[in-house]
Symmetry: C2
Subunit: 625 residues, 2 copies
């Protein structure tokens, strides 16, 4: 019997956080401490202010190699009236040696004139304490070295030791128990069975928790049985400071987290007005946070980023973690729902002095958009979206310096772009490559709009049979330059063995087709072939099914979702598909005119044109001169 | 017999780095790898590009809880023409379940109208693959997940696992052996003997190495015996990838590092034109870097920051680490030598929209300046200095977001400022306090120049006997507001037991005096007392010895460097000194007019005026209402 979903709250995020943190504070969550050696305390957080117990230096120390004297005896010295020091007048000191009692100045070796027999001449007077590091020059006993809550940097640890502090009370690193749940979840493998979902959220959480100052204990995968999950939560509550239950937080058939937390403690929030991330459960039992995270990786990551980060900060008595933000220009319009605050991941790059934020794929399961993400654009709940060209605040996921040196390549997909990026990385290039697949027309718009440095294009002019030239002349009369790329073979990819006996494009009307997105050069080729063969788009089953890359098309054919699709040979080869060549095309790079001198662009093309890279293209297959 | 120093090179830093890195590359330094589980790979650096071995999803998965059907049967459905599905037409699926063969769409539970007997009505058509996550929607087999040299973020680890990769080859974390050397160096202690120097450089290095991606092995302190140090270096060369010898790198009496490295391998550079940091030794033996670091902590830290960071980056085949920089306005003139590139540490704060960089103490041993440092201003070798007010590039030591919320307090020192800062930290204030001791007149100039939010002042008008008012009216007719601070007792601090029998200020002419810096309120009091007692500055032994804080004065009296100095009761109490009260003074806070509404200023004053804080002042002693 199919059960309907239970009703979820839709609490605004700020309210959800406030309610939750107030409750956790009221039950005394957090604040555990331990005493550690200062030599091991780097990165730890001070519980209380640290005061120096000794001065540094703690004695009067020579600042130089030389001789210690009473300053008084040097007073008459000058070039005209040198003073001679006999061995009774001085004591030899090295840098750092204590100044003998009775002395209060040091004369550097370089200022001593050897008179023989241990006598030295000096020609300049020295004032008291000259060339001496007096007691307390650096740290004075009783001075506060750092206040409560300071995160100990390497230098601070040095200062604590210099101040005579050898052990210090710091916050414990809270231990977060991570319980993956689900009947279909399996441990990481290269060979999952149909229906198996590889459990990787716990690995992502472990890394994120570390950045929040918490350690992680990952429990074995627990099947979707309420009693088993409850038992796992109870065990984690005994062993850990925080409990995270992964999956099973939506109000669906197998979703027990809310009920379990209710039975063990309190549910404060179930359902937050954020997208992705809505069905999170924020609860507490035994004075500890118990949080139900959505199963979809990106939903879970948003809840981790927005809420679990603050829960960990609360353990350290900190209000909330600080996030680096930067202003950028939005490349593409973002549409948003009034029901939710939305978190749109973006990639960033600086083109022509402007920092451009390009929105990434919005699907809640798309972890690769999170791996390409440089930052997050938070669209408030009461907004319907943001227009292209608007200035936006981006919350960074990476330091800005890593983002600044980016070669932004936006346009037609070809795996060779990733390969050039890899060659560049191996050569130690000081920039990274950020490549987005939006198709050939996407390159035209991106270059025109100052949103990319370069992009791949293979736009067939069906009248002239030429590639790219007429499009660039039409759309970018002043702004773009086409540089040589590669020749590649385009053709029909079909399942290995060609079970449907497809011989040319006209045969696709007897097959399930998978298409490329509008604006893709391959789509333009498709429409041309349809026309050329006297076909109509409506006749082609699957014409409306659009994918964004050659490998995505190949993957669907290999999986049996479709029977045929246009693409490049290297994609067919990778998936063991048969390939019916149709034409040789010219795949070139469109470069913004003022980017021709960009060292990153030059470096990219240098690799592309190199003999070493031609070998790689040969291995991939389907490329011509 | 006193030996003269040996001659050191004075190589510009960039040249030193270039020569050194080229040599290390030529002997094949770095590049060690190991294979790790991806579940443990967060933060590690990829050796080679990682390609997905499976698609994700790797089967067609339901995106919803609902029923899987052939899309075709839904085509006729509309509100007016509903379609009824019988149990033969559908299969119940949960989110993530595989779509049964023959099905190619999923209808959400919410869209099913229960007709009883397992029949459901639908009123909307579904297109093929609607509500299905098709094979490869996220990652396609063969796609490059990340290129060589990528540092694995938590999300990237998730993507690798989703792509079927369970183990991955990553760079080893290089192991750096740290050998502290010196006869006077002792392990951390709260009770060092005279002449003992607490060894803390190795702790600082350990933390810095960790941030460079290296592990540290700290060897026992090795005495200044050439053969012992050589043996330690040889041992470290066997066990480690990098060897750092701490102290003994200048060309002085006990400095063997250069000779030892020469005997074991090659010295590339000995003496770099940077200040601090000059006497570093950059060498190589057995294909590994062997570096001699100066003994002075801040010199060593600069060499670590400038050179060892790049050596570690070279292990990972990376050109050089990226540093976050920011533009700021220089608060105070910086003078520089033409012989050296200099590294001036600064603190940062935003006042009135401008990011202000304030240079910190320049002494090469002053580790506390490094702990207060938010960033570094690199003054090139060919520059004589930079004027106040100039725009400068600061290389950050901390993320900018930690620096942005700073309350900048510049003026007269009082330990209560640190105490308020600690109270604020314990309350979870969202800002940090950055307090610089430049004396009362320094507060006037700082507020006037827009370089601070507030500062302590206790400026005696010797004509009226009043504090602060006339100075503020004179120097800041429009710009500053004085708010209530505390009353405090100023007096003469003398050694415990008052061995010289000092009864009032006139008695200091029989004692060694220690003064405060010009511009300090306490200095102004001193000059007033001199005049009042018919004395002259020249008569006072030590009048020219200036210290910057009350505790520094107290420390010198306690150590016997001086016999008397003016200061506040709490400093005398801390050092067990006798205290001869002289007057009650008014210590107030000068606040920039437009900062009165600054929530951080308000929060500071709220704490200062609170009953809780009055208790703390009572414990410290010497404060009045």
């Amino acid at each position: 019997m199919i059960m309907k979903h239970n009703y979820l709250n839709n609490l605004p995020l700020d309210e959800a956080k406030r309610i939750y943190k107030e409750h956790l504070a009221s039950v005394g969550f957090g604040g555990g401490t331990e005493t550690v050696k200062v030599t091991d305390a780097c990165g730890r957080t001070l519980k209380n202010a640290a005061y120096a117990v000794i001065c540094s230096p703690h004695y009067n120390a020579s600042a130089m190699d030389g001789v210690a004297v009473r300053a008084e005896i040097t007073f008459p010295a000058s070039e005209k009236t040198p003073v001679t020091l006999t061995p009774d007048d001085y004591a030899v000191v090295d840098t750092g040696d204590p100044i003998p009692d009775g002395c209060d100045a040091v004369i550097m070796i370089e200022d001593l004139i050897d008179r023989g027999n241990g006598d030295y001449g000096i020609i300049a007077s020295h004032r008291p304490w000259q060339n001496v590091r007096q007691v307390g020059e650096d740290i004075c006993m009783g001075d506060m070295i750092a206040p409560s809550g300071t995160v100990l940097t390497p230098s601070l640890c040095g200062a604590l030791l210099a101040g005579g502090i050898t052990e210090i009370e710091v916050y414990k690193r809270p231990l977060a128990g991570v319980i993956p749940t689900g009947d279909e979840i399996v441990a990481p493998t290269s060979d999952p069975q149909k229906g198996d979902i590889i459990e990787f959220n716990s690995t992502v959480f472990k890394g994120m928790l570390d950045s929040f100052g918490a350690d992680a204990k990952v429990y074995p995968i627990t099947p979707d049985k309420k009693e088993l999950i409850r038992a796992a939560v109870e065990k984690a509550l005994e062993e850990c400071d925080i409990v995270l239950v992964s999956a099973g937080s939506s109000a669906g058939r197998d979703d027990y987290t809310g009920e379990i937390i209710s039975s063990l403690g309190t549910v404060l929030v179930h359902g937050i007005a954020i997208k992705p991330g809505k069905p999170a459960v924020l609860g507490e039992a035994k004075g500890k946070p118990v949080i139900g995270l959505p199963g979809y990786p990106v939903s879970a990551i948003v809840v981790m980023d927005e809420i679990v980060s603050e829960v960990c900060a609360a353990y350290y008595s900190k209000p909330c973690p600080k996030r680096e933000t930067v202003k950028a220009v939005l490349a593409k319009k973002v549409v948003s729902s009034l029901k939710y605050g939305e978190y749109v991941r973006v990639s960033l790059g600086r083109i022509n002095g402007r920092l451009i934020a390009s929105p990434l794929a919005r699907g809640a399961g798309v972890i690769t958009s999170f791996t390409k993400s440089d930052g997050v654009l938070a669209v408030p709940q009461n907004s319907e979206g943001i227009e292209a060209g608007a200035q936006v605040n981006i919350r960074l996921h990476k330091p800005l310096c890593e983002i600044e040196d980016t070669l932004v390549i936006t346009g037609s997909h070809d795996p060779l772009i990733d390969e050039v990026a890899d060659f560049l990385a191996k050569k130690g290039a000081p920039f990274r490559v950020c490549s987005t697949h939006v198709g050939s027309m996407g390159a035209i718009y991106a270059i025109k709009g100052g949103l990319a440095h370069m992009g791949g294009i293979h736009l067939l002019d069906t009248e002239t049979g030429e590639y790219n030239k007429s499009y660039v002349e039409k759309y970018l009369p002043d702004g773009g330059v086409t540089v040589r790329g590669v020749g590649r073979v385009q053709g029909l990819m079909v399942r290995g063995g060609n079970p449907l006996g497809i011989r040319d494009f006209s045969d696709v009307k007897n097959a399930r087709y998978v298409n490329r997105q509008r604006g893709a050069g391959t789509r333009i080729l498709c429409d041309y072939l349809i026309k050329k063969n006297g076909m109509k788009p409506e006749e082609i089953n699957g014409y409306a099914n659009e994918e964004f890359t050659h490998t995505a098309v190949a993957a669907l054919i290999a999986a049996g979702n479709a029977d045929a699709g246009l693409g490049i040979y290297s994609a067919a080869k990778m998936y063991g598909l048969d390939f019916i060549p149709i034409c040789n095309e010219t795949y070139e790079f469109l470069v913004a005119k003022n980017e021709l001198d960009n060292p990153a662009v030059k470096a990219f093309l240098d690799v592309l044109y190199s003999d070493e890279f031609k070998k790689r293209l040969g291995e991939m297959g389907g490329y011509t001169e």
